[in-house]
């Protein structure tokens, strides 16, 4: 499996990563190489194998519906890049 430069741009956009034009050929090559490595998987017939999402065969534990958290927004927002009136600010979102 080999990617094109266009594929690289699409994936970078999907993952919201800015990548300079100069770096695209390198990514194209490296990502294609990794996909080449991964390609070995296709040689194995897995039609009867159930996918394994977790290493342990456990089921979800449930928490009691109790409020345990208190307000710490000042502490949490101390580390935020841009806050005003307790709101996180981002460039205007157009819906």
């Amino acid at each position: 499996m080999s990617l094109t430069q266009d594929d690289v741009k699409k994936i970078a956009h999907l993952a919201r990563l800015s990548i300079s034009e100069d770096d695209i050929p390198a990514y194209e090559k490296e990502l294609s190489n990794i996909l080449g490595l991964v390609e070995q998987m296709s040689a194995v017939d897995t039609s009867d194998v159930a996918p394994m999402a977790h290493p342990l065969d456990m089921v979800q534990r449930l928490r009691d519906d109790v409020v345990t958290e208190t307000d710490h927004h000042e502490q949490y927002q101390d580390i935020a890049p841009n806050v005003e009136n307790s709101l996180y600010l981002v460039p205007q979102v157009i819906e």
């Binding site: 296709s42 290493p55 342990l56």
Partner: protein, 484 residues
């Protein structure tokens, strides 16, 4: 002081031979004079360490000390530590002061252990050489021109250079065991779910597991006693009692069945490393163990499978780093899209971006079945290999890494070659099994590790098996010349 093991330090503190404050200060001094050579620490928490040590001294005096009270430790910079910078080796989190403590950190705090600082690591734990860190590479204390392994390279180097008696690491595909092997220390990756992942910055959630990095197996047992346990904040945490991991260290190995997977001794393994591992196996035979050749036929699929599962999970896990609520934000974003793309593009390094992109691709429409589902199916096959093997053997042994530490820069331009460094360690993560690396000799003056893989939740046996070996060998006790 710095040549003592945890159990020796613990006994000395209780006996009043020296105080935690003295001990802590001596390690802080070593860090300040020696760490510039190896770059193992991102942050040294000097004042916090001394304050904690003073509190520990009171606790020791009051007679309420736990085994780790007053013991200085180095924490991998992947664990969130309240009020202390937690970088995960990334520019993205260079300004991140965590507002909360990871469960592992809470456990150590409750035990009265002293945090010396946060150790360097591959960025977001993605790497096998510690060269992807934003804070520069860590150097191997045995040869500062060589890599310490990764991603817990700082933690491994710190223990090897005696800058800390023990440290913590995390292991997603070998990140505890491989650097332990390359730095000549003992490292244990517990069973998935044994140690809480809460507050440990996620790389690949279904693979990540924290564990101790120490000089000896006995020290690892003491550390694991503190780290392991059920945590209600982690849905994947195992609801199982924690045994005393130091209790069975001295059990006899008479009749222990060791499985040697033939796939771990084939092409790709450095011949001298192979010899060192075989010598270690003979030592086990001397201790009464029985050796049996086994097969893990899907071993060759572990690396390809891992490089779908881990990137897929990481591509999603790392989406939260978006420059909005914490972490790096680019200057003057033109609009929202620009804010996202440049904050992430500038905040993440090349290897992290590669893995995010591979993961996003593997999960995207049209490729999900061929990559992600396929990898999950292979994951089951790899896991089933081990299930069958453990019907016949008690532990599995082999090399931890295919070769000793390689040169800085030697593989950093070639991701694929780098990925193959973890060829023997990845399968245990895919299956969720516990694995250890134990010092087992030297090749060209660089340490070699023996890997021991156990059955689920069989950490006690792994530690016992490692400990008995360390009773008859002294590889683990050796110290690099400059750090004696």
């Amino acid at each position: 002081m710095h040549n003592k093991t945890l159990s020796e330090l613990s006994a000395a503190l209780q006996a009043g031979e020296f105080s935690s404050t003295e001990l802590t200060q001596s390690y802080l001094d070593r860090i300040s004079s020696l760490d510039p050579q190896i770059n193992a620490f991102v942050t040294v928490t000097q004042q916090l360490a001394l304050d904690t040590a003073a509190a520990a001294d009171k606790r020791i005096a009051a007679g309420t000390a736990a085994p780790l009270t007053g013991i200085p430790l180095a924490q991998k910079d992947i664990f969130c530590t309240e009020g202390v910078k937690t970088t995960c080796g990334s520019k993205m989190l260079d300004n991140f002061i965590s507002p909360y403590d990871a469960t592992v950190i809470e456990n150590f705090n409750a035990a009265g252990a002293v945090m010396l600082g946060k150790t360097n690591m591959d960025e977001f734990a993605m790497g096998s050489s510690n060269e992807t860190s934003y804070y520069g590479p860590v150097k191997n204390p045995w040869d500062i021109n060589k890599v310490p392994g990764g991603s817990s390279g700082g933690s491994a180097a710190a223990v090897a250079a005696r800058l800390a008696p023990a440290s913590t690491g995390t292991d997603t595909g070998g990140s505890i065991r491989q650097p332990a092997s390359l730095c000549g220390i003992t490292g244990l990756k517990p069973t998935y779910g044994r140690v809480s992942r809460y507050g440990m910055i996620a790389f690949a959630s279904s693979l990540d597991q924290a564990g101790p990095m120490t000089r000896t197996a006995e020290d690892a047992a003491m550390m694991l006693n503190c780290m392991a346990g059920f945590d209600e904040r982690d849905s994947t945490s195992a609801q199982r009692d924690v045994p005393d991991y130091t209790a069975n260290l001295n059990d006899s190995l008479q009749g222990l069945t060791i499985g040697l997977p033939k796939e771990y001794f084939g092409e790709g393994l450095d011949a001298q490393v192979g010899s060192a591992v075989e010598a270690a196996i003979r030592e086990y035979e001397n201790l009464g163990a029985v050796v049996k050749e086994i097969s893990l036929p899907n071993t060759h699929l572990a690396v390809p499978t891992y490089y779908v599962v881990a990137p897929a999970e990481c591509s999603s896990n790392l989406s939260r780093f978006d420059g909005v609520r914490f972490g790096y934000r680019c200057d003057d974003p033109a609009d929202l899209e620009d804010l996202y793309k440049r904050s992430r593009g500038e905040g993440f390094g090349a290897e992290v971006k590669r893995r995010i992109m591979i993961g996003a691709y593997a999960l995207s429409a049209g490729y999900y079945d061929a990559y992600y589902i396929k990898a999950q199916q292979l994951r089951r096959l790899i896991s089933d290999d081990f299930k069958r093997a453990f019907e016949e053997v008690d532990v599995i042994m082999g090399p931890t890494a295919p070769e000793p530490a390689f040169g800085l820069g030697e593989k950093s331009d070639d991701p694929i070659t780098m990925y193959l460094s973890d060829i023997y360690t990845i399968a245990a993560n895919l299956a969720g099994l516990p694995g250890m690396s134990v010092p087992a000799g030297f090749v060209n003056n660089m340490p070699v590790g023996l890997q021991i893989i156990g059955n689920y939740f069989d950490e006690s046996r792994l530690l016992n098996v490692a400990h008995r070996y360390q009773q008859v060998t002294d590889w683990h006790a050796r110290t690099p010349e400059q750090f004696k």
